[in-house]
Symmetry: C2
Subunit: 290 residues, 2 copies
């Protein structure tokens, strides 16, 4: 699995650098967009998207632009979330956040630009049909818009310092990180032309995969290695964020994670993929240390 | 013309209120989006879009969602431009700006949400073919992204307090406001199925129309009535913005406007519209007092 991940990460990074020429973009804006885009992200979402495609079809060149569009949306959300008015973070992945490296105005515009450009990228993909583009653009907009990721960030901010339940926490994560992860899975599978019944099972798989990702994120903020993570740990407690460990304890969080993994495995089995990529990625997410 | 404008403005406002149900959007986020969307905008871009369609075809119901999507993009850009890190404006159209009425984080997210939702709206329009949607989404993303409107805002900020030429000023406006105005014209005309040669003439028309709009904006910031404008005048001078009047004087600015109007008229004539809507709107823009 590690080799599959590394090879796809490399492919994504290379495509991103080639594809995204400066063109007619003002220099500072371009620099700011590229700074965050190439700031050493793990490329988990693009890798999930290609793995979902590879689970049901061959030759994943077809999904590369969509994978990059997805990573652009993820990157824009990090830039805006890090702003002083939001989470006010100075570091991300061991580097200065965008508004610290540049300035707030540039960071806001770089986020806006990446969001908009991700849609443009899909509209001009020469390997996709018009119907495929409309499907992807619709799903991507829903996943990242006011009922999806933006809603998640809003609810997350509103929950700070408040006592919430595990169910409420799940609902926040489902939107804040879950919807884009689900997009990765269904976009890949749709382009690989799976049946609707398989797509439904994959949505369930993606739902639990997203939660596994989030529990592990919360656990790492307690027991993770700051060197490996590229950021200090303990910030959730400091910001009075509701997390799995502080609602359930570390053991309770681990047990929740195992339950989510089992549910994801069962849905995946019913989707009948041709190989173990998505199974292995699920466990990779659950065991990750960075 | 005034009746045409009023009737289309009403249609846009009604469609917007009906169309955009709260759905699954968090309450504060929804309120913030709607606050700016319904803050009494003139709806110039949607009216241009419908007028462009009406110039070559009948029954403009087909363009209504695209017109609203365009107004959402315009609204998002105003919300972000008003932020403290950008133009730092407290009032817009006589009302508190979004971040003053709500807070900065909410305003950033409301802008992100409107931008994303505008693309979603076009993807799910049942009156358009997949090819029409892809055309519109591609043109809209190019017009508003890092080579379009976002670039314009970036260059505009960078030019503050600097001495620039009329040519540089035109290039900034062409991106900051011109590209969305051009989108309005070509989107309407494309959906009305005009020939490519007409579309090219209409692009020229839209280019000069955008400049007319901007010169008049600059002139009104000097001699306009604050009551009618819903904002104080003289802010450009205060912010050391380069404008037509301060580069050319008021008379020079007026003369420039007349030249732009003549060029727009000539291109429009060659595009052979079925009626005078676009001709009248050009003069309406040039003469506007608010």
């Amino acid at each position: 699995m590690q080799r599959y991940i590394e090879s796809n990460r490399k492919k994504v990074n290379e495509s991103m650098e080639q594809l995204f020429q400066r063109a007619d973009i003002p220099e500072k804006l371009y620099d700011s967009m590229m700074y965050s885009l190439l700031a050493g992200g793990k490329r988990l979402r693009p890798i999930l998207l290609t793995a979902s495609y590879d689970s049901f079809a061959t030759s994943n060149e077809k999904v590369m632009n969509t994978a990059i569009a997805l990573e652009m949306i993820h990157t824009y959300s990090l830039i805006h979330d890090d702003l002083p008015a939001m989470d006010d973070d100075d570091y991300r992945r061991g580097k200065l956040t965008n508004h610290k490296q540049f300035d707030e105005a540039t960071a806001i515009l770089a986020g806006d630009a990446l969001l908009t450009y991700s849609f443009e990228l899909i509209t001009k993909d020469t390997l996709l049909t018009a119907n495929e583009k409309v499907f992807l653009l619709n799903e991507l907009a829903k996943a990242s818009g006011p009922e999806g990721m933006v809603a998640g960030q809003m609810l997350d901010m509103e929950s700070e310092g408040k006592q919430i339940t595990v169910e409420q926490l799940e609902k926040i994560h489902e939107r804040k990180t879950g919807r884009l992860i689900t997009f990765a899975i269904i976009a890949g599978a749709h382009l690989a032309k799976v049946q609707q019944i398989q797509l439904d099972e994959l949505k369930t798989y993606a739902h639990y995969l997203g939660l596994v990702f989030q529990v592990q994120d919360d656990i790492l903020d307690v027991i993770g290695d700051p060197e490996k993570l590229g950021k200090p740990v303990g910030s959730d407690a400091l910001n009075e964020k509701s997390t799995y460990p502080n609602l359930l304890g570390l053991d309770g969080a681990e047990r929740h994670k195992e339950t989510y993994i089992k549910k994801a495995e069962k849905a995946l089995e019913r989707a009948k993929p041709n190989n173990d990529y998505l199974y292995d990625l699920l466990h990779h997410f659950g065991d990750r240390t960075y």
